[in-house]
C-alpha cells in the first residue's frame, strides 16, 4: 500500500505535466447558460492540439492511435488534466464510450472509418439509448429497426441524449427482433445525425440550460455496414459502452464540490458551528469516496474483482453532490434568494444526480444483488417475447 507515486509513475506525471503546463486555463464549469456551440468549437480545437501531440486518446491501444496507458497512468493523466482545468468534454461520448466499444466489438472497416476522426474531434458522438418508455428498464426500448434490403429503416423516439443537437453521429440502440425476449432482439447502430427523417428537439432542463435532447426517427435509413456486431448483439455492446462511461470518470475528485463550498466559507470568514460540522462531514465523505475510488482503480488495474465497493460509488458520488449543493446554498445565506449565485446551478442540477446513469434505486438493487449476493427481484419480463410485454399506461 503506497499512496505516493512510484518512480515510474512520478516520471510519467512529470512528462504529462510538462506537456500540459502551457495549456492551463481557468476551469470552466458548466452553468447552464453557456453557448454550447462555442464551447464545442473550443473543445474540438483542444482535441486537435492533443491529437497532433499524440495525446488525443491515451487510454486507447497504440494500434488505434492511443498510448495504451495503464489504469494507474490514466488516473494520473486525468488528475493532471484536472489541474489545468480541462475535465469533462462534449466529445466524451466518442472518446470515452463509442471509441472503446468499437475497438472491442467493431469490424475492421468500422474502426478504420470512425476511430481516427473521432480521436481528432472531427466526429462528435451522441448516445441514443433511453426512451420515454425505457428508462431504468433500458432493455424494454421500443425504437424499431426493420431490415430493408442491405440496410435498415428506423422508427421511434429517443430521449436524454446529451448534446445530440451538436452531434455529427449517434450510437443507437434499436429493436431488431420484437419476437425475441427483450435483451436478445436489440441492435447497436451508428447513425449519421444528418440523415433525413431525424429530428432533434432540445430539452430545456429545470436549470434553464440545455444539455439533453429528444431525438425522433421517422423512416430513417441506416446502411447495413453501420450495424456493429450482429443484429441481436446490441445489449452486450451497450453494457460495454456503459462500463467505459463509468471508467471515464477518473479525472473527477469528489473533493471538488467540497472545495467549492469551503472556498465560499473562507471568503465569508468562517461558518457557524452547526454548518461547519456539516461541511466537515461532507469533507469526510468526499475524502472517503476518493479513497474508495482509488481502491477500486487499484483492483481494476491488477485485473482483480474490485468487490462491492465499486457498486456503491455512483450513489456515493451523487450524495456528495447533493450535500455540497445544499451546503453551498446554506453558506450563501440570504444571497441564496437571488436568481443566480455560486451554487444555484448545483442546487438546480442536484435532483438529476440520483436519476441519470441509473437511478439510486436501480444502483442499489445492482449493489445488493451483485455485491452482497442477495436474490434477484422476480422479473415478470424474463423470457417473454418483447411484443408480448405490458407497456406503461396499460398499452401493449
Amino acid at each position: 500500500m503506497d499512496f505516493d507515486d512510484s518512480p515510474e509513475d512520478a516520471a510519467f506525471r512529470a512528462e504529462v505535466r510538462a506537456f500540459l503546463a502551457p495549456h492551463a486555463r481557468e476551469a470552466l464549469r458548466y452553468r447552464g447558460g453557456h453557448d454550447l456551440a462555442a464551447l464545442l468549437a473550443e473543445q474540438r480545437a483542444w482535441q486537435r492540439t492533443l491529437f497532433t501531440a499524440g495525446w488525443a486518446v491515451p487510454g486507447w491501444p497504440p494500434a488505434y492511435g492511443g498510448r495504451g496507458l495503464s489504469a494507474g497512468q490514466r488516473q494520473i493523466w486525468g488528475e493532471e488534466l484536472r489541474r489545468i482545468g480541462r475535465m469533462g468534454s462534449m466529445l466524451s461520448g466518442g472518446l470515452d464510450m463509442l471509441g472503446p466499444t468499437l475497438i472491442e466489438h467493431g469490424s475492421e472497416a468500422q474502426k478504420a472509418r470512425f476511430l481516427e476522426p473521432t480521436a481528432r474531434g472531427d466526429i462528435v458522438w451522441c448516445q441514443l439509448f433511453s426512451e420515454p418508455g425505457a428508462g431504468s428498464d433500458l432493455a424494454s426500448l421500443a425504437t424499431r429497426a426493420v431490415r430493408d434490403g442491405e440496410g435498415w429503416i428506423v422508427n421511434g423516439q429517443k430521449v436524454w441524449s446529451s448534446f445530440a443537437n451538436h452531434a455529427d453521429m449517434g450510437f443507437l440502440l434499436a429493436r431488431t427482433d420484437p419476437k425475441a425476449p427483450k435483451h436478445a432482439g436489440i441492435g447497436f447502430f451508428l447513425v449519421d445525425m444528418k440523415t433525413p427523417g431525424i429530428e432533434v428537439r432540445p430539452l430545456i432542463e429545470m436549470t434553464g440550460g440545455n444539455h439533453f435532447n429528444e431525438v425522433f426517427f421517422a423512416d430513417v435509413r441506416v446502411p447495413g455496414e453501420n450495424l456493429v456486431a450482429g443484429p441481436g448483439a446490441g445489449w452486450g455492446l451497450a453494457r460495454t459502452t456503459l462500463r467505459h462511461e463509468r471508467l471515464s470518470i477518473g479525472s473527477f475528485s469528489a473533493l471538488d464540490p467540497f472545495e467549492r463550498v469551503a472556498r465560499a466559507v473562507r471568503e465569508r470568514g468562517g461558518a457557524e458551528p452547526v454548518l461547519a460540522d456539516e461541511i466537515a462531514h461532507l469533507y469526510t465523505i468526499s475524502k472517503a469516496v476518493d479513497l474508495l475510488s482509488a481502491r477500486v482503480r487499484t483492483s481494476l488495474a491488477r485485473g482483480q474483482d474490485p468487490g462491492p465497493g465499486a457498486l456503491v460509488l455512483k450513489n456515493a458520488v451523487s450524495d456528495v453532490m447533493l450535500r455540497a449543493a445544499d451546503l453551498g446554498m446554506r453558506v450563501l445565506g440570504a444571497d441564496a434568494l437571488a436568481a443566480d449565485g455560486a451554487f444555484h446551478h448545483d442546487f438546480l442540477f442536484a435532483p438529476s444526480m440520483h436519476i441519470g446513469g441509473g437511478t439510486e434505486e436501480v444502483v442499489k438493487g445492482v449493489a445488493a444483488e451483485q455485491g452482497l449476493g442477495l436474490p434477484r427481484e422476480p422479473d415478470a419480463s424474463k423470457g417473454v417475447p418483447f411484443d408480448a410485454l405490458p407497456r406503461s399506461g396499460g398499452r401493449r
Binding site: M1, D2, I285, A288, V312, G371
Partner: protein, 380 residues
C-alpha cells in the same frame, strides 16, 4: 499510487482470521464476557506469543516484529469481526505505542519485550480522554494522585501506564507518562461493568501511588498525542471489521429467511437497507486503510495523523453503528433477543464512539484544520 495489501499482508490477515474463527469466535467472546477477565489465558498466550500478535507494533530489537500500523490494523480488523482479543487493544496497541512514543530507548528495552511476548499485559490510563490536555491524574514527587475512569483492561494489566500532569502545568505541556505495577501500594483498580460487554473496563484510583516517570520530565504530551491518534486509527480498523461482520450476518439471514413465499433479501426495501450499510462500510474501510497507511510512515506529522484519525474514526463510527443497527433490524424479533449476538455488536458500536472523542469532536478538529471556522486560519 497503489491502494492494496501486499501478498504477505493478505496471508497475515488470513492467518489471524483462521485463528480467531477457531479459537475466539463471537460465541467465545460472549462466554468470556461473563467472566472477570474476559479472556482465556491459554488462548491469549497463543494469540500473543505463538501467533506473535502482541509484538506487532514493538521493534524487533525489543522482541517484537517491528511492523507498522498497517499490520496492526489488519490484526484489529480481524479481531473486531468476532469482538475478540481481550487485552490486545490495551496492551499491544495503546500501551505498546505509548512506550514507543514516549519512553527512552533504555526503558523500551526494559519494558517492551515482556509486552511483545504477551507475558505482561499493560494498559494506558488515558482512555475516555480525547486529548492529553484532558488528563485526570497529577504527579508530585514521584507519586500519583487522582482517578482515571474507564481504563481499558486495567483489571487485567500488571503494568499500568498513567498520563499525569506535573504541578503548575497547563495544556499539553507538563504532561508526564508514568509506569507502575498494578499491585503497587495505594493503587485501586475497580472493575467497571460497561455498556460494551466484550471490552473490559475499570476505574483506576491513585492515592499517592509511587511511580516512575518514563521519558523526560513533562515531555510526554506530543508522544501521547501521537499514541492517541495511532490508537484511534487502530480502533477504526477494529470497528470496520466488526461492521463488516454485522453486515455479513444480516445478509446471510436475509438470504435464507423466507416470508411471503420468497427470501426477504429479494425485497427492495431490505436490499436498500443492506446497501446503505454497505456504502458506509466501504467508505469507512477505505478511510481506515488510508489512515493506517498515513500512520505507517514515520515521517507523518502529528497534525496529519490527527486529521487521519479524525477522518477514520468518525466514518468508522457511522458505519459500525449503522451496520449494528441493521443487523438487529434485518434479523427481526430474533435480533432483539439476548441470545442473538447482534446486541454485542450494537453495544460495542456505541461504546467505541465514546472512547477517543465523539465523531462531532473529530469533525470540529477537521473544520478547524480545513479553515471552516471563523477566526481560525487554515492549516493548509
Amino acid at each position: 499510487m497503489n491502494f492494496a495489501w501486499s501478498e504477505e499482508q493478505d496471508e497475515f490477515r488470513a492467518s489471524v482470521r483462521r485463528f480467531v474463527a477457531e479459537r475466539w469466535p463471537v460465541a467465545e467472546a460472549r462466554r468470556l464476557a461473563a467472566t472477570e477477565r474476559g479472556y482465556e489465558p491459554a488462548v491469549w498466550k497463543q494469540l500473543a506469543g505463538e501467533l506473535g500478535l502482541a509484538g506487532l507494533a514493538a521493534p524487533e530489537a525489543h522482541g517484537g516484529s517491528g511492523f507498522t500500523m498497517l499490520e496492526l490494523s489488519i490484526a484489529l480488523d480481524e479481531l473486531g469481526r468476532e469482538l475478540a482479543g481481550g487485552p490486545f487493544f490495551a496492551s499491544a496497541c495503546l500501551a505498546t505505542l505509548a512506550l514507543r512514543r514516549v519512553a527512552t530507548p533504555a526503558e523500551q528495552a526494559e519494558l517492551l519485550p515482556a509486552l511483545a511476548a504477551g507475558e505482561t499485559v499493560a494498559t494506558l490510563a488515558l482512555a475516555g480522554a480525547a486529548s492529553p490536555a484532558a488528563i485526570a491524574c497529577t504527579a508530585q514527587g514521584g507519586r500519583l494522585h487522582g482517578e482515571q475512569r474507564f481504563v481499558i483492561d486495567a483489571q487485567n494489566a500488571s503494568l499500568l501506564l498513567v498520563a499525569a500532569r506535573e504541578p503548575g502545568s497547563r495544556g499539553a505541556d507538563g504532561v508526564g507518562l508514568f509506569a507502575l505495577a498494578a499491585d503497587a501500594p495505594r493503587v485501586r483498580v475497580t472493575a467497571a461493568p460497561g455498556l460494551d460487554l466484550t471490552r473490559k473496563l475499570a476505574h483506576l484510583r491513585l492515592d499517592g501511588a509511587p511511580a516512575r516517570r518514563l521519558g523526560g520530565a513533562g515531555s510526554a504530551g506530543p508522544g501521547l498525542a501521537r499514541t492517541l491518534a495511532e490508537a484511534t486509527i487502530g480502533l477504526a480498523s477494529e470497528q470496520v471489521g466488526a461492521a463488516a461482520r454485522c453486515l455479513e450476518l444480516a445478509v446471510a439471514h436475509a438470504k435464507q429467511r423466507v416470508q411471503f413465499g420468497r427470501a426477504i433479501g429479494s425485497f427492495q426495501a431490505v436490499k436498500h437497507r443492506a446497501v446503505d450499510a454497505l456504502t458506509l462500510l466501504e467508505l469507512a474501510r477505505s478511510a481506515a486503510w488510508w489512515a493506517a497507511w498515513v500512520a505507517s510512515r514515520e515521517a507523518a506529522s502529528l497534525a496529519e495523523l490527527e486529521d487521519a484519525a479524525a477522518l477514520a474514526h468518525s466514518l468508522a463510527c457511522e458505519a459500525f453503528e449503522k451496520a449494528a443497527y441493521e443487523c438487529i433490524h434485518l434479523h427481526g424479533g430474533m435480533g432483539f433477543t439476548w441470545e442473538h449476538d447482534a446486541h454485542l455488536y450494537y453495544r460495542r458500536a456505541r461504546a467505541d464512539r465514546a472512547l477517543f472523542g465523539e465523531p462531532a469532536a473529530h469533525r470540529a478538529r477537521l473544520a478547524r484544520s480545513l479553515g471552516l471556522v471563523a477566526g481560525d486560519s487554515p492549516a493548509r
